[in-house]
Symmetry: C3
Subunit: 202 residues, 3 copies
Amino acid sequence: MNTVGLIAFALVGATKAIREEFDMFGVTVVGLATAFAGGMTRDLLVNRIPLALMAPIEISLGLLGVGLAIGISIALESADDHPLTQISDAIGLAAFTTTGAIVATQAGIPAFGVVAIATINAVGGGAVADILLDRSPFILLDDFYASCTVLGGSTYWVVVTTGGSNGTAAAICAVMVVGTRTAALIYGWSLPTAQVLGTTRE
Amino acid sequence: MNTVGLIAFALVGATKAIREEFDMFGVTVVGLATAFAGGMTRDLLVNRIPLALMAPIEISLGLLGVGLAIGISIALESADDHPLTQISDAIGLAAFTTTGAIVATQAGIPAFGVVAIATINAVGGGAVADILLDRSPFILLDDFYASCTVLGGSTYWVVVTTGGSNGTAAAICAVMVVGTRTAALIYGWSLPTAQVLGTTRE
Amino acid sequence: MNTVGLIAFALVGATKAIREEFDMFGVTVVGLATAFAGGMTRDLLVNRIPLALMAPIEISLGLLGVGLAIGISIALESADDHPLTQISDAIGLAAFTTTGAIVATQAGIPAFGVVAIATINAVGGGAVADILLDRSPFILLDDFYASCTVLGGSTYWVVVTTGGSNGTAAAICAVMVVGTRTAALIYGWSLPTAQVLGTTRE
């Protein structure tokens, strides 16, 4: 699952950079940032040297995603809106949320921190990529994307706290993320803005 | 004081995100980032796990600020320009500057580092929030805001170096920040740009 | 070399901020960020307290660069496009790449990590400065700039791996960066975008 996630995230990030006409170095950096910036931030927060810098295999998977993006972009418009990419992305989101929750729990961080680190691990890369592309991170604006990781991270914490094993918690967390994200894609879920909340109260 | 600061900073950040029509997740993230990103950066720089992730009470205060912002935004225009918000913000600025200076001093960091970490602790959150909102950090552009924290941090270091206790230094630092910030608000202080400097020399 | 780099980087960053009419605090922050953000990120990644916060001499050099930028901007247009600035910048790029590679190697980080940290050390400051100026980092968009550091970092790693001493590796790495960067400036090298790659294949 983590493998699928790394490739999918790098592909999505690189495709966005290609659309903005970044050069090859820029496309590679944005692709790798999307795949690794969340995990590197997680490792910084729990005070260890980022795994991504120590594991050549992970980087190769990221580069594969970037290569795929370049290859596909020549053959195909909008590779990042393709259903296959979106499903891979949902699987990646689930894998990254789960990994984040596990690392945070092992570092002895309490409830809110676990959810925060799971979320940063899963969506931090995409947010960094958007900042590099000079936009507001899309996760803050609309769509029901980061909310899936918040739900997943909370579920993980609830299961572990109520006596479930790490394995059970991880499985339920992953199902929760893939499930809510798929539902959000199919039914077009989104969170309201304060403006909408204000209007409905009038 | 720190309590007032966390609530005020989260309120100011969330209000800016509401104005940009971010969704509820985005408003929460920008509010929490304004309240906590400075302190988290400080903790990363002195190499420890961010306190914010370990302390549920602090997060609750941040969420209270976000909730206030959402509630107030429905009742009121421009909650972040309200005098009460500006005074709370000045108190928060003082509290965060002082905390930053204390943490840096305890970590054995010399003069410039103390001022730098005090400043990052106090204004880093607002800078991150502005980057998430896709603007240049307002602290770099005009106003006499970050300058108050530089003055406060320098004062702290001078007092400690000349033999004052940490408590004395903290008190003088806090008074310095609140004082200069209030004066800046009342008299409309701002720093010159290089263009202005160039013109006045001609 | 590191001295030249710190002054040149601070000068280039501060000049960009002056052109955007940032106030004196903003100009100073952007200048210092250009000079130090790469090295601070490097230190965070290898899990130590940033050297810049511990070394007053380095900061003084950064402030000297900022002061030069302010002085020159009043006398001269486009200080950052001046040949002398560009040569200083190339020397700085080489110094920072080499320092990054040495620190990463000492921290026991493998091949890709060494190149990544050398690159972040050399171009991270400029990227942070561009984000503060609300643009996409210029290194991602065009020019043959970050590529020089990737080549330099890779060279360093190859020399060390094939049995060369750290000193030899550092010297060859520095020559490689200055050489490729100078050639890129003279001959106007740049990397292709995916669009260009797509076109040439048709």
